[in-house]
Amino acid sequence: MSLKSSAWTVAGRTFQSRLFVGTGKFSSPEAMKAALASCGTELVTVALRRADLSGQDDPSADILNYIDPDKYLIIPNTSGAMNAEEAIRLARLGAAAGLPKWVKLEIHPDPRYLLPDPIETLKAAEILVKEGFTVLPYINADPVLAKRLEEVGVATVMPLAAPIGSNRGLETRGQLEIIIEQSNIPVVIDAGLGTPSHAAAAMELGADAVLINTAIAIASDPSRMALAFAMAVEAGRAAYEMGLPPAQHRASATSPLTGFLDT
């Protein structure tokens, strides 16, 4: 028996894995490559600012050389952009450099908590969608913003569970539930998931996928941790698809207390 959950699609492309993996913070490109391979991910995000966009095969910015584009869909992200203009410029440069015309739209003016700017994100999303990009915007867990982005034609929304790198888990749970309930496009929970149990809980909520980076990259054994996350994602999704029993405040005995009446 396999736990394998159902395939899903983003912008017409079908995926088996529901685990996105980010590529920052690893101890080496080799460690990153091994972690990607171990967890069966099919979607990998890469910061454009760390990549070589000049086409000169820059040895000081060779991260893309370690990610096989035949195995993974490489989704460039715009981290570092502080406004719509910068994010759009980066996305265009990534596409011009031959990367897929997909973009994880990240606009965070505050370099400390890296919280996304909703106004600039909506502005940039609208323009990039019109230019033919498949846009996956990173947003705060704001249900109204998620709907506004859906209306302009983004492919998914990627609301945060907690600030990037914080490993604090589903701090925005209530808002995420509303986003998932209302969304007509895939919801990928991004940022703040620090343990496999966080990822499983996110999937049990009904998220279509999760994105993990820090928790895998800084683990003592990133490959095993990546696999642990993959298993948790599968478990969480399978449980969601089967339907979870509602939580109750009182204990319910497995042997009914009034069973004697029927004997």
Binding site: G24, K25, F26, S27, S28, P29, L48, R49, R50, A51, D52, L53, D58, P59, S60, A61, G80, A81, M82, E85, E86, R89, L90, L93, P109, D110, P111, R112, Y113, G165, S166, N167, T214, A217, I218
Partner: protein, 370 residues
């Protein structure tokens, strides 16, 4: 109100964050425990990575007299200002070494190091250096704007000492005498659009715990008021330099380690910088405890990497240019003697051995829109 107002009230008003920071500097706080917290937070926020940069000295001309600095106006040293072509030669050398993040450094001298000259240098190297930062004499916001538009992304300005009396005693001539003007410099830089702002104190000039508290207060203020900038903090300790200035106070390796850990624990997401001023063994030990940005294979004299600029080399006596007589020297005088003399390649190898990924490029010129 600028930071000057907050700074002036620092003795009577300290936030809970600053009080906690101060307590971490006390000897009764277990250093090993502090180091373990710092290690964990650095891993969490920066992962197993280390960003690398190199300083590129443009000029060692200076109109200031600062008793501790090798470039001090009255020091009879060998000076030069590189031409823009020579700056390009030096930058290309550093790019060949792997660097994509270069800090342009110059003494303060409006005649040699004008805004126009700075602008030209930035424009020349930015097409092949994604990240260019500056460490030059403080300017007005309006003077900074063209430098930002040319592609400069970061500005570094150390207060040197946050002790007003010591500051007045050490800075005897030149515009640098104005303590408040310098203290407000990071805010002017932010207003001009610099995205990365570096602050620091030069340890060895005044009592270190007091300096540290003021530096932390400065960081706390900038994080609230200049919230869009990436802040970095440096902890340079005084090194031997022309002028033979002796440190007034000694900050031990233990003190420096405690300070770096205290900054990491207090400001988990802020970049902490360590230069080649510190010896190799200490640098290696401090790497996992909070440092996120380090220089490697550095030279602190103009032309130091490739030997350019020799033809214009001259000596100054009390600020007056004197041509060289015979073989007085071949190279411009360095600002200070570096301690960790390992090459960039050796440091990269060391980082890899320690399980750290050396990050050369962490910025793309597309973000600057130049």
């Amino acid at each position: 109100m600028s930071f000057v107002g907050t700074f002036n009230q620092l003795d009577s008003r300290q936030s809970p964050l600053l009080r906690r920071f101060s307590s971490l500097l006390e000897e009764d706080q277990d250093l090993e425990l502090l180091a373990s917290q710092a290690y964990g937070l650095t891993r969490q926020y920066y992962g197993k990575t280390m960003r690398l940069f190199a300083p590129l000295y443009l000029s060692n001309e200076c109109i200031n007299n600062c008793k501790y600095c090798g470039f001090s106006r009255d020091n009879p040293i060998l000076r030069v200002t590189l031409s823009v072509d020579q700056v390009e030669t030096e930058a290309r050398y550093l790019v060949e070494e792997g660097f994509r993040n270069i800090l342009l450094v110059a003494g303060e001298h409006p005649k040699f190091v004008s805004e126009g000259y700075m602008e030209e240098c930035i424009r020349r190297i930015h097409p092949f250096v994604p990240s260019v930062s500056l460490e030059v004499g403080p300017m007005e916001t309006q003077e900074y704007i063209p430098l930002v538009k040319s592609g400069a992304e970061g500005l570094v300005v150390y207060q040197e000492t946050y002790d007003r009396e010591t500051y007045a005693d050490l800075h005897t001539a030149g515009p640098k005498k104005n303590f408040d003007w310098r203290l407000e410099c990071p805010e002017r830089a932010y207003a001009a659009g610099f995205r990365r702002i570096g602050i620091g104190a030069l340890f060895g000039l005044s009592e270190w715990k007091r300096e540290s508290l003021a530096l932390a207060a400065h960081a706390e203020y900038l994080l609230k008021h200049c919230w869009k900038s990436s802040l970095t903090i440096s902890f340079p300790r005084l090194r031997p330099a022309a002028g033979e200035f002796e440190p007034k106070v000694v900050m031990s390796d233990h003190d420096l380690t405690r300070l770096i850990c205290a900054f990491r624990v207090t400001f988990p997401q802020v970049g902490l910088v360590l230069s080649t001023r510190e010896p190799a063994r200490l640098r290696d030990g401090l790497i996992p405890l909070g440092i996120t940005l380090m220089s490697a294979g550095s030279h602190t004299e103009p032309g130091g990497y490739t030997g350019v600029g020799k033809e214009k080399l001259h000596r100054t006596e009390k600020g007056k240019m004197v041509p060289l007589i015979g073989s007085e020297g071949e190279y411009a005088t360095e600002q200070f003697a570096i301690s960790d003399q390992r090459s960039a390649g050796t440091i990269v190898k060391k980082l890899k051995e320690m399980g750290m990924d050396p990050v050369w490029k962490d910025w793309d010129a597309a973000l600057d829109g130049v």
